[in-house]
Amino acid sequence: MLAVQILIDGFAISALYGLGAVGFTLMFGVSGVLNLAHGATMVVAAVAAWVVAGQLAASPWMAAVAGTAAGVITAFATYFLVVRPIQRSKSVPAAEKEIFVLTGTLLWGIMIQETVAYFYTDNPKSVQPLIAGVMQIGGVRTPINELLIAVICWAVIGLLWLLVHRSKAGKVLLAASINPRALTLLGFELSRVYLSVWAIYGVLAGIAGVLLATFLGASSAQASQLTASAFSIVVLGGLGSVAGSLLAAYVVGYLETLTAYLISPTYRSMPALVLLVIVLYVRPRGLLGRR
């Protein structure tokens, strides 16, 4: 049944897009950074998981943990080596800091991409699925891993929501995204807030990268495409809005899946880009954006 196949396939890929996009938008919402090394971070996590699984003959779960850790390390490297020095630099005018950070992360992403390709080639790497095998859903033979990915993505997003809305640390994060200056007046250290947001981002991007490796495989050549994908989803949903990103991820995921099945996989990414242009024309703040 083609419809069921599209429904399931679209759901899994949208969940994966959603996880990556949520991290991306959180980063922008809280610390104002558009991290164009996002795709490269996901690729590092994917390749690290592959390396650990291969070299150390580890189980897929160990590899997943290692990959996520690699994502966190890359996120911190991005913060300490690229973003923070620019933000603290006295020679960059305050109004231009965002552009410099953007450019800095773009170049840093390219550096990471080339380094990965140098050591491991640009051939896609894959990790064994966390749970192998297939099951029948509505007459459609589906890899169990695909369903697991959707479950994991939503579980992580759910945990994130709990963290932000129910824990004190999370509320500090939320406050920082609304009014950072007021937060400092209340005595909170912004630098610690930023550290925690980069840590959370690293975990989200790391998990997304590892799951991508188990599902479709990831290659260093895809790094810029992954960033572009996350970027357009986040702009479509509204920069800074987590709910908007999730919604947009599903819109884009299903648009892509429908196109791939009904027209051709070659044109898969086109409708989403056309939609992005239309939305920017008609409603520039995105579907659920607030700025």
């Binding site: 083609l2 196949q5 396939d9 890929i13 699984a53 291969g54 390709a117 140098y118 080639t121 640009d122 051939n123 896609p124 790497k125 894959s126 990790v127 064994q128 699925p129 192998a132 297939v134 033979r141 890899p143 891993n145 479709l216 495989g217 260093s220 050549a221 895809q222 495409q225 899946t257 791939a260 099945y261 996989p265 070659t266 898969r268």
Partner: protein, 409 residues
């Protein structure tokens, strides 16, 4: 007086040293242009180094050492052309070997013609390469094609299906699944001719963009058409379609040409999803096509830790073919080298290498046939490449994963 004598002595010493210098010969430089971050490209680089080091260890060419000038073309024709120009004008190479991408090889062909420097492609497959030489020989004669043309690859696959697979299984229908690239256009055209000749009906012909990452819609479509086999033509992709084929448990075996699957690293790259994949290759462990095949494989594994992919074999042979031509010509001049290369009769790691002449439509391509080079058909089983055609060891047989079903005839 003493000062003058000192200066004179120094001058004499200098000139003596200079004449000694002139007697140690200049190295012969070979340009190697490859896609260093791709599996196909690393094979070219490694194969070249292995060949050059062995030749130098044996004394070089008439006392002259070989030196490799290596360039990464980043899978870009523009970068490759720049590298070629630099190799010839600045680095003074006598010939260039390289690339596994047909688009790149076709971009370099006219530059070999302009600079009169021989160019041997050891990995690209498109028929167009030799067609250009046939149609404008005087201009394009500097290019040699040391790998099988796409048409011959398709023929080899059809021959092996007829000789081997059809004896054991009922193979009456197929879907051709190829990446949309220059090398697959003649490959697919030949599939569409040779498959029906062996009684296999081609139900569909799918060409996908090389940067496709999700193959689920394609497998879904193919499954709906219910072919007996999927006949592939993939090179830029390999890991993703294979991994997804295994994860989704697509019940149709994949045979044909998957050039990434020729590499010894493919099992690890796909985490074992390669099990059951059948592919054409030039040689593999245990194939023993010539006396040189296995020793080359063993040396390669010892030095690089993994089994060679197809470009390693062909590049290794290409270096030796070139060196033999230099010796035959007694010179490194472009025109003389071309004439000498045309007389190549070299038993390499994959068979006996000779090039077609002006009268063949495949001028300067490698001769195809049981006495020359046919390639092999191999299947991945238990982390090993098992050669099944044309010569197989008695215990070798097909082994497909449980989820694929091939009917007995």
């Amino acid at each position: 007086m003493r000062g003058f004598a000192l200066i004179a002595a120094a001058a004499l010493a200098c000139s003596a040293a200079e004449s000694v210098q002139a007697q140690t010969k200049e190295p012969i430089r070979i340009g190697v242009i490859a896609e260093e971050s791709a599996i196909g490209g690393t094979g070219i680089v490694n194969g070249a180094h292995l060949a050059v080091d062995a030749i130098n260890a044996a004394g070089g060419v008439d006392g002259r050492k070989l030196e490799i000038m290596q360039y990464d073309d980043h899978s870009s024709a523009a970068d490759a052309v720049r590298a070629f120009q630099r190799a010839v004008s600045q680095d003074k190479v006598v010939a260039v070997i390289g690339t596994y991408i047909s688009e790149v090889a076709l971009a370099l062909e006219p530059w070999a013609a302009r600079t009169h420097v021989p160019f041997i492609t050891s990995g690209a497959a498109s028929n167009e390469i030799s067609r250009h030489i046939h149609e404008d020989y005087d201009k394009n004669k500097y290019t040699f094609h040391e790998y099988m043309t796409s048409a011959f690859i398709a023929d080899s696959i059809c021959d092996s299906v007829k000789d081997l697979l059809q004896r054991k299984y009922s193979i009456k229908s197929a879907v051709v699944l190829s990446e949309d690239a220059a090398w697959t256009t003649p490959l697919d055209a030949e599939y569409l001719v040779c498959l029906p000749k062996i009684g296999v009906k081609v139900l569909d012909h799918i060409r996908f963009s090389p940067d496709t990452s999700d193959f689920t819609p394609l497998y879904n479509k193919i499954e709906g058409e219910k072919p007996d086999v999927i006949v592939t033509g993939i090179s830029h992709t390999g890991v993703q379609p294979t991994v997804q084929w295994a994860q989704q448990q697509v019940p149709i075996p994949m045979i044909g040409m998957s050039s990434q699957a020729t590499s010894g690293t493919f099992w690890k790259d796909t985490n074992g999803a390669a099990a059951g994949i059948v592919t054409f290759s030039v040689a593999a462990d245990g194939a023993n096509l010539t006396a040189k095949t296995q020793p080359f494989i063993n040396d390669y594994i010892k030095r690089f830790g993994e089994a060679p992919n197809y470009t390693a074999y062909t590049t290794h042979d290409a270096v030796n073919v070139l060196v033999q031509a230099v010796k035959r010509a007694g010179s490194t001049d472009g025109e003389k080298l071309v004439a000498a290369l045309e007389q190549t009769d070299y038993v390499g790691t994959i068979g006996r290498v000779q090039f077609y002449g002006r009268d063949s439509q495949f001028t300067h391509a490698m001769k195809y046939g049981p006495e020359y080079v046919t390639g092999i058909m191999l299947q991945w089983q238990n982390a090993k490449q098992v050669t099944l055609w044309p010569k197989a060891s008695p215990e070798a047989k097909f082994s497909f994963p449980a989820f694929t079903q091939l009917q007995k005839p």
